[in-house]
């Protein structure tokens, strides 16, 4: 570590009677409402954080069900219409031996969303009380979920592009199904859920002691 940045005692802003701005980083006296530098709303710890995490997570989970049962794509080829769901589309790609693309779609629209539900749920359950876990591990989990969650949108964009390009009347045309909208909503809700997390809770509640 360089000399020009020092943090000798690892004191938190909260213990020092200060409240930190999560947007620009500077600290203000405890009880300040808006950051003195950037004007964003200040809260030493976001007490309602876990409630919002659960609310968005549940909303995301609910719309994820129709996203999987309804068709994502409705393809018409020579008067024959076929519908494919998210998983059906992956299976189709495997049949066409496009394994790499099948893997990308499967990871983006099945593995990442399901993993996200599990990880956010795990963190939200764990952080209700002192957790005794390695905070670095939990922190990595949270960062990973926040970073990777938006990549689920790939499948929605694929549907959009195919719909726009494949429009040859009766010969071949592609229409989006209801699942595309549900899936997009699910991604947005789970992104909001991950953002609602106050990561400072991870470091506060390691052991049984109330900070300040």
């Amino acid at each position: 570590m360089d000399r020009s940045v020092s943090s000798p005692s690892l004191t938190t802003a909260r213990r020092a009677g200060l409240v930190a701005c999560r947007s620009c980083g500077i600290v203000s006296p405890f009880g300040t409402r808006a950051c003195l530098r950037c004007g964003s709303r200040l809260e030493s710890r976001d007490e309602a954080s876990l409630q919002r995490v659960w609310a968005w997570l549940l909303a995301g989970l609910i719309v994820y069900i129709p996203a999987n049962t309804y068709p994502m794509l409705r393809t018409t080829q020579l008067f024959q219409t076929s519908e494919s769901t998210i998983v059906g589309g992956v299976v189709e790609l495997v049949h066409h031996h496009a394994y790499a693309i099948a893997a990308i779609v499967f990871i983006a629209s099945v593995v990442i969303p399901v993993g996200k539900f599990l990880v956010i749920g795990y963190l939200a359950v764990l952080l209700r009380r002192p957790h005794g876990q390695d905070p670095h591990k939990l922190h990595t989990l949270h960062t990973a979920v926040e970073f990777i969650g938006r990549w689920s949108m790939i499948d929605v964009f694929v549907v959009a592009i195919l719909t726009a390009l494949v429009q040859f009347d009766v010969v071949a045309s592609v229409k989006p199904g209801l699942a595309a909208a549900c899936f997009a909503l699910s991604v947005v809700f789970t992104m909001l859920s991950a953002q609602a997390f106050d990561p400072r809770l991870i470091w506060d509640r390691i052991k049984e002691e109330s900070p300040r």
């Binding site: 004191t11 938190t12 530098r37 964009f157 694929v158 390009l165």
Partner: protein
Amino acid sequence: MIFDPTCIACPNCDVLHKVAPAAVATRAKCAQCGYRLTSGRPEAIARVVGLALTSIILMGVVLFAPFLRLNAGPFGSAASVVDVVLGFATGIMVPLALSVLCFIIVLPVARAALLLYALSPIIAGVGNFPGAPAALRFAFSLKPWAMAEIFMVGVAVALVKLAGMARVEMGAAFWAFALFVLVNAFQDTFMCRNTLWTALSARRR
């Protein structure tokens, strides 16, 4: 009230750090959780302004040039990025079309415009525009919602899916969009919160 710009707290774990004013050129991580507190790039402001301007110009090309062209026997269809978005726009799919439009065009451009608004007066050496702090704050919070790079991966997947049934040609907008994604990725390496906020607030009073 006066704040102390050399005392910052880690946004992830709340640990206090003292950053010397001369520390602009050093990289530093949070001693507890490893969060990158400063990226040590004093040239960040100029780079961010230049790259934001570049990406707005590129997006202009994207909007008014053909994106992809599909040839399948006697049939051909060309799609601009706007077509791609309007592909959804029937009935209940309209809200989805609008949000896709936001994710791939409106929000990435808004982010670049906000950065220009907040930071270009620093380069020009004039006083900050009104609401500059709010603009910079929004630019940071828009980041996860600007999904241009994800759209590009989606294009790649779609092209492979189509490869069997038709020939696809990339138009000028395709390459402009690819460049836009690269410029954005490069710009993000300079988006150091500490550097940008320190520069913005140093000139306010």
